[in-house]
């Protein structure tokens, strides 16, 4: 019959129309911004810098200004200036830190290469996309203070990745500690070799040398 194809098509449309009132699969519109869809954990938007402690974001940045992300970024939207001095980082070790760290988020294309190449897990991808500003270029140039977010925030947006990173960093720190302890023990053992009892230094004399047994 001429028109049977059309009628079959209309039957499908009717099924979808009626179904949209009671079947969630048929009605897929989410009324943003009152309701939001849940983003998957892997969703990435713009990068942010991870600081270990929320109370001291600038002092506990994991970034050591190695500039690898700056070199590998395809549109070259990162600019880093190393500091001239060293400050203790979250573990107490003296590290260089970035004095200037700028990301031009109007150029960043969210490719995530900076995250992949960072050897210190210092830069990670954020998930915030509601970052519209009133001014066109300078408001989108994010500096160190705007980029730094604490590790607790990282845990809240990407729990499994943050747990894996923390575990790995803790394991690395433990290995480093053990090595340092073993090295200290070896050094102490080398210094504690049996020597002749030291004589009292004469007043005004130079520092006493350990006397080797002849």
């Amino acid at each position: 019959m001429l028109g049977s194809g059309l009628l079959q098509g209309l039957a499908v449309t009717a099924k979808n129309f009626v179904g949209s009132f009671h079947d969630p699969k048929r009605l897929t519109t989410v009324e943003y911004p009152e309701k939001r869809t849940v983003l998957p954990e892997a969703y990435r938007n713009f990068p942010f810098l991870v600081s270990e402690k929320a109370e001291d974001p600038m002092g506990t940045l994991r970034c050591v200004a190695c500039q690898i992300c700056e070199k590998e970024c395809p549109p070259q939207c990162i600019y880093i200036e190393k500091s001239k001095d060293k400050k203790p980082d979250a573990t107490g070790k003296m590290q260089i830190y970035p004095a200037v760290f700028l990301i031009d988020s109007s150029v960043c294309m969210n490719c995530q290469i900076c995250v992949e190449v960072c050897p210190f897990d210092a830069i990670k991808m954020d998930q915030v996309f509601e970052i519209a500003t009133q001014e066109r270029f300078h408001a989108l140039l994010l500096d160190r203070e705007q980029l730094a977010k604490p590790n607790s925030y990282f845990h809240s947006i990407r729990p499994s990745e943050a747990a894996e990173v923390d575990g790995r960093l803790a394991a690395e720190r433990k290995v480093a500690e053990e090595k340092a302890k073993a090295a200290a023990l070896a050094k102490a053992a080398a210094q504690a070799k049996p020597v002749a009892p030291k004589t009292e230094p004469a007043p005004g004399a130079a520092s006493p040398k350990p006397q080797n047994p002849a």
Partner: protein, 390 residues
């Protein structure tokens, strides 16, 4: 303006212009369709010369989205070019990434582990599904079915894009393949979600076909329109569903057998007439074959590493040489030709874009048809301007 070849726009002399241009027959009308046009699939311009409603000449004008991607490729390292390949055919980032990774792996002699090959095949077939469903929707939109089939198609496409997002972090600009494997491993939950999608996709295709394939209006608007003969297609370098709808059984997945496709059992649908309806049906049938491939891949995917242990992320400097790697993308043969001079950046980085070469036959397909058909024919060729202009 003169239509007999004096203007700089038609230096070839306008071979198809009607010789008679008198009072009785009326003037030929020249219409510029685009670049701002809802149906030209991007910033694409066609200068169409009309005799009434019939097309006597059609010249495509390209370059509105030209970003000189190849020169950017010469200035960036191999790894940093990977996100730029997402933006070529911006609907199919996964297959663009794979073609580039294949070419670099040939250049650098890297081997890809088995699990990574299976993941690549799964993602390429998912990409083919969402591309063909997008095309079917837009083709029907161009014929005037004002949105209904498009929105049904996009409902399914959204589930596929959500899968891409939960794996790679981004719906379309995935940046997922790396030289020597894949960036992130797929969890069993993700593979389970793919399995659910694949099992339900057949039912969706049945409903979609019931909606539109037997529709008399669609058939009368697409059957016999834009017929492409097999010999013309091969000579013009056409690849992809456009070639197969013309009746030529050339599918690079079967011919080259790249990436473990030799292990999979699937058919290649061919068209009998080469018209627009055949191009639409070939894509619907290819979607059904993709479902078969996906089911086999999900059944057989092994565990194991996903990256070649010899591959380096940073500081990748392949030895001097060149390589050409191509895959069967959803739009046709996408290939990358790389010349390396031993440094961190390629010396020459060339993209072989399927849509660009497929546009060679646009004029021949449209001649003699009405201007409304030209929109439908352009839709059935399936171009993406990011790839045409690079």
């Amino acid at each position: 303006m003169s239509l007999t070849g004096d203007s700089p726009l038609f230096p070839s002399g306008g071979a198809h212009v009607r010789a008679v241009n008198d009072e009785f027959h009326g003037d030929l009308l020249e219409v510029s369709m685009g670049p701002h046009h809802p149906s030209t699939h991007g910033v694409f311009r066609m200068i169409v010369t009309l005799d009434g409603e019939r097309i006597v000449k059609l010249k495509p004008v390209l370059g509105y989205l030209h970003r000189n991607h190849e020169k950017i490729g010469e200035g960036t390292s191999y790894l940093a070019s990977m996100p730029y390949t997402d933006r070529l055919d911006y609907l199919n980032a996964m297959t663009n990434n794979w073609a580039y990774a294949l070419s670099v792996e040939r250049l650098g002699g890297l081997a890809v582990p088995e699990r990574a090959e299976y993941l690549r095949i799964i993602l390429a077939e998912l990409s083919r599904l969402q591309n063909h469903v997008c095309l079917a929707g837009f083709l029907l939109q161009d014929t005037g079915a004002s949105g209904t089939p498009l929105m049904y198609a996009f409902r399914e496409r959204e589930t596929i894009l959500d899968l891409f997002e939960s794996l790679s972090g981004s719906r379309m600009m995935c940046n997922y393949q790396r030289f020597g494997g894949c960036r992130v491993d797929a969890s069993p939950e993700w593979l389970g979600q793919v399995s659910t999608l694949v099992d339900g996709f057949g039912a969706f295709l049945d409903e979609f076909e019931q909606l539109i394939t037997g529709n008399e209006i669609l058939m009368s608007r697409t059957q016999g329109i834009g017929v492409l003969k097999a010999a013309d297609a091969v000579a013009a370098g056409i690849t992809g569903p456009l070639l197969r709808a013309a009746g030529v059984g050339y599918d690079i997945r079967k011919v080259d057998g790249y990436g473990l496709y030799n292990r999979f059992n699937f058919r290649v649908p061919l068209g009998a007439h080469g018209d627009t309806y055949d191009r639409y049906m070939v894509r619907i049938l290819e979607m059904r074959e993709s479902i078969t491939i996906l089911q086999q891949a999900l059944r057989d995917i092994p565990t194991g590493p996903i990256m070649d242990p010899k591959a380096k992320l940073r500081g990748f400097r392949p030895k001097p040489g060149e390589s050409y790697g191509r895959i069967e993308g959803p739009k046709g043969e996408i290939g990358f030709y790389l010349i390396s001079d031993g440094s961190a950046n390629p010396y020459r980085y060339r993209v072989r874009p399927p849509s660009f070469v497929n546009l060679t036959v646009l004029e021949d397909l449209c001649l003699g048809h009405t201007i409304a058909d030209s929109v439908v024919i352009l839709g059935s060729i399936d171009i993406v301007l990011g790839e045409v202009d690079r």
